[in-house]
Amino acid sequence: MTALLIIVVGVLVVALAVALIVRTRGRGSPPQAPAASPIAEPPTAPPKEPAAPGTSTTPPGIDAAAPAGLRDRLAKTRGVFSALRAGRSRGAIVAGTFDELEEALLRSDVGVATTDALLADLRRRVAAKDIVGPDQLLDALRADLVDLLEIEQRWDAATDVELARSDPNAPSRDDELVEPVGRALCVVDEPGVTNVWLFVGVNGVGKTTTIGKLARQQAAAGRSVLLAAGDTFRAAAAEQLAMWAERSGAEIVRGAEGADPSAIVFDAVQRASARGNDLVLADTAGRLHTKVNLVEELKKIRRVADRPPGKVTEVLLVLDATTGQNGLVQAKEFADAVAVTGVVLTKLDGTAKGGVVVAIQRDLGLPVKLVGLGEGPDDLVVFDPVEFVDALLG
């Protein structure tokens, strides 16, 4: 290990030193470096998902199912399976059928590795005559995808790493957002314990909006909710959350811009504990998973939030459905850093399919728990693998 380290440092030092020298020498030529003008730290972050005020048509409260809504909104059929259909008339899997399935998966951002694995398995089964005919093939793919997205499902136990990503504190699953296994959000009902749900993700995925929606649903479900405006970095993030707090009647704890987010979360937990709030929803500033110091800051927020009476029962990674393969990297880095318990897939009401969550579940065992379907306060529903897969395959 040390050997490697020294080599690495050696290579780096040489490379960087040479590069620096070369660049300094080369300064005479037109500078390529961007204008790194010494502007005094204007903290900005790309804006988050906007939300229309009060456009809700569904009744408030928790729509645990809302299946029709999801299907309606997701059903933008692509109609790519022409070869599949052509084969159907002949009852055979024709050349090009697999290509079409591959195309559908790739276009949905499922990713090359996952797509290849899924199709290789199907090809094997077709060759073994376990699958005959295009209808069976499509059904099999559908079933495979749904299986893959089921909680606790492991793609390949031999190659997968330990997937025990469930909450280490093994909280009871008694939430109202009831779903078969583990899709529910964890709340511990113990006296003297304040539940904290932490929301993490890169910039602009919709963390603040998701919290706003969830606050409203949880309040409607009879919980007293306190919001912690832990995004002290982006301009006006706290204002945005405050507007949501107003709409849902939740309390909010906020600090000055640039304040220590951990301190705000700490204050929120203290306040919630003193006032008997059931649940703290903690917002955090959007951060790229590549920024070491910001990820460290996030770890600290989690540590502080987990200090009694606080107890972190959910760490939700908010992921934008338009995100491509980088979503997998994001999920891995955030999961490593703060032990993410689930994914919230936002902006699924657009044309993006969010297929990268298939790869995330397959590689990391992280389940999708909630789905964001629009800008209204109630456009946040429990994830349904069957509907998701239907939409994915068009």
Binding site: T2, A3, L4, L5, I6, I7, V8, V9, G10, L12, L16, A17, V18, A19, L20, V22, R23, R25, Q32, A33, P34, A35, S37, I39, P42, T44, A45, P46, P47, E49, P50, K76, R107, D109, V112, G204, V205, A235, A236, E239, Q240, A242, W244, T290, V292, D320, T322, G324, Q325, N326, G327, L328, V329, K332, K347, G350, T351, A352, K353, G355
Partner: protein
């Protein structure tokens, strides 16, 4: 997580090597890898197809350059093609004869429009213009508030009123005219391309304000959907250009390629950080390197320039080249490098790192650095200068002092000696000879190929000389010798893999170095 295209092609290069020209079958293999790499970089499937077709037609039957392996040859073509598509015609920003020049920003939710507006305003201010920001995002709570704060930071005033987006935009342009501002930047609400109502709204905004430039703001992390979005916005708004945001992450940013290809409008700006100043004109060649996964060296170097102590680095680098690299220098370098972030992360940014090397880099525990540091710090200055002084009892003392064992100390010393040898080898290898020679040489290289090439030259030139040293190094500790050999091979092979103009010439120059260097 994903393999760089250069690595992928390197893997199949063994089969491609030592033939006169690329055969059809070779090319098929290569194209499969290119396709996978592009898809993993989030380039849209249709664009990928068009791209691989173009590469095929360019590669077919092409005479192989003597100095490039077939894998490199393909990378060269791919890179050139990427730069060609990403670059293409550029947008020459002109200003309206009757001010203000109106700029409209549109895009999906969370793509970074508000931040980009402020960055643009600041950029124009630096160009000596006098912009006004108009906040027409009345939808997201506190969006205008955010713009006001950002505007204050950029020193640009912000206009908005709580009416409706169309009238705000209209009033904003009038206000800019009244105030005599020459640029008027309109920030709009994020919207989905399939939301007919909101798309109609932005069309009306565009209609009443008659923007001179309409930019689509695209998140670099966007996947396959980028194309659908870009098409829809282009149909509604007649885009003039694209701004790619969040390029400071590790997303490959293939969306940029997709959008450029589909919309046919240039990518004008790139946003690379959370500070207002992290914004600049778009560089097609950097984006091409990035999509190929060749390591974003330029970004790394810029980061290094910002964080590292330049004098200290130059000093130790000079000492290194003169073969007087002491543990003291090593310690200093270690601290400098550490400022850049986790070592594993930095390694990934470097080009020419084989997959094995990357994986190894992943395993580096940054805590290990602290231990190494502790050992060096437990030595006296004299010992650091001349490690050969360190005898048995000194070893015990150092181990005690640093809370490690004598084996650890031994190991470090051994590694360090090997590193010194390696460096001498590199110096002798000709990449860096003492004095002014190497600088001139590298400077000249930079002229042709910029730093990336220069970096590559370091790795490439020393491939042969480095390998034995490294292998010994690993052999001595029972580590896997293969990855290192592979990595150096990859370093050699992929280093010229950033084929820009003048590549062949450079390679020829290097040809003289095939014979073992005299210094060793």
């Amino acid at each position: 997580m994903f393999d760089a295209l250069s690595d992928r092609l390197e893997r199949i290069a063994g089969r491609l090597r030592s033939r006169g020209r690329l055969s059809e079958a070779d090319l098929d293999d290569a194209l499969v890898e290119i396709r996978t790499a592009l898809l993993e970089a989030d380039v849209e499937l249709g664009v990928v197809r068009g791209f691989t077709d173009a590469v095929r037609s360019q590669c077919t039957g092409e005479e192989l350059s003597k100095s490039l392996t077939p894998g490199q040859q393909v990378i060269k073509v791919v890179h050139e093609e990427l730069v060609r598509i990403l670059g293409g015609e550029t947008l020459k920003l002109t200003y309206a004869s009757r001010p203000p020049t109106v700029v409209l920003l549109a895009g999906l939710q969370g793509s970074g429009k508000t931040t980009t507006s402020a960055k643009l305003a600041q950029w124009w201010k630096q160009q000596g213009r006098n912009p006004l920001l108009v906040g027409a995002d009345l939808q997201r709570p506190a969006a205008v508030e955010q713009l006001r704060i950002l505007g204050a930071q950029a020193g640009v005033s912000v206009f908005s009123e709580p009416t409706d987006p169309v009238s705000v935009a209209q009033a904003g342009v009038n206000e800019a005219r009244r105030l005599g501002r020459d640029v008027c930047i309109i920030d709009t609400a994020g919207r989905l391309a399939i939301d007919a109502e909101l798309m109609e709204e932005v069309r009306r905004v565009s209609e009443v304000t008659q923007p001179h430039y309409t930019f689509l703001v695209v998140d670099a992390m966007t996947g396959q959907d980028a194309v659908a979005t870009a098409k829809a916005f282009h149909q509604t708004l007649e885009l003039d250009g694209v701004i790619v945001t969040k390029l400071d992450g590790d997303a490959r940013g293939g969306a940029a390629l997709s959008v450029k290809e589909v919309v046919g409008r240039p990518i004008v700006f790139a946003s690379t950080g959370e500070k207002l100043a992290d914004f600049d004109l778009f560089h097609p060649d950097r984006m091409a390197d990035r999509i190929l996964g060749m390591g974003d060296v330029l970004s790394l170097i810029e980061q290094a320039e910002r964080t590292m102590d330049h004098d200290a680095v130059t000093k130790s680098a000079t000492r290194m080249m003169e073969g007087r690299f002491t543990l003291e220098d090593f310690l200093e370098q270690l601290q400098q490098v550490r400022k850049l972030g986790s070592l594993g992360g930095i390694m990934k940014l470097l080009p020419g790192m084989s997959k094995e090397m990357r994986q190894a880099a992943d395993q580096i525990d940054d805590g290990e650095i602290s231990r190494v540091e502790a050992i060096v710090r437990s030595m006296t200055p004299t010992e650091r200068d001349d490690p050969s002084l360190i005898d048995g009892s000194r070893r015990v003392r150092i181990a005690h002092g640093s809370g490690t064992s004598t084996q650890d100390v031994n190991q470090l010393l051994k590694q360090f000696r090997e590193m010194q040898k390696m460096m001498k080898g590199m110096v002798a290898g000709g990449a860096m000879t003492p004095g002014g020679g190497p600088m001139g040489k590298l400077g000249a290289l930079r002229g042709a190929k910029k730093s990336l090439g220069a970096l590559g030259a370091v790795g490439g030139g020393d491939g042969e000389d480095m390998a034995p040293g490294l292998a010994e190094l690993f052999g001595g500790t029972g580590g896997p010798p293969k990855p290192v050999a592979a990595s150096t091979a990859a370093a050699r092979a992929t280093s010229p893999g950033s084929p820009k103009g003048g590549l062949t010439g450079k390679k020829k120059k290097k040809g003289g170095r095939v014979t073992p260097p005299k210094g060793r």
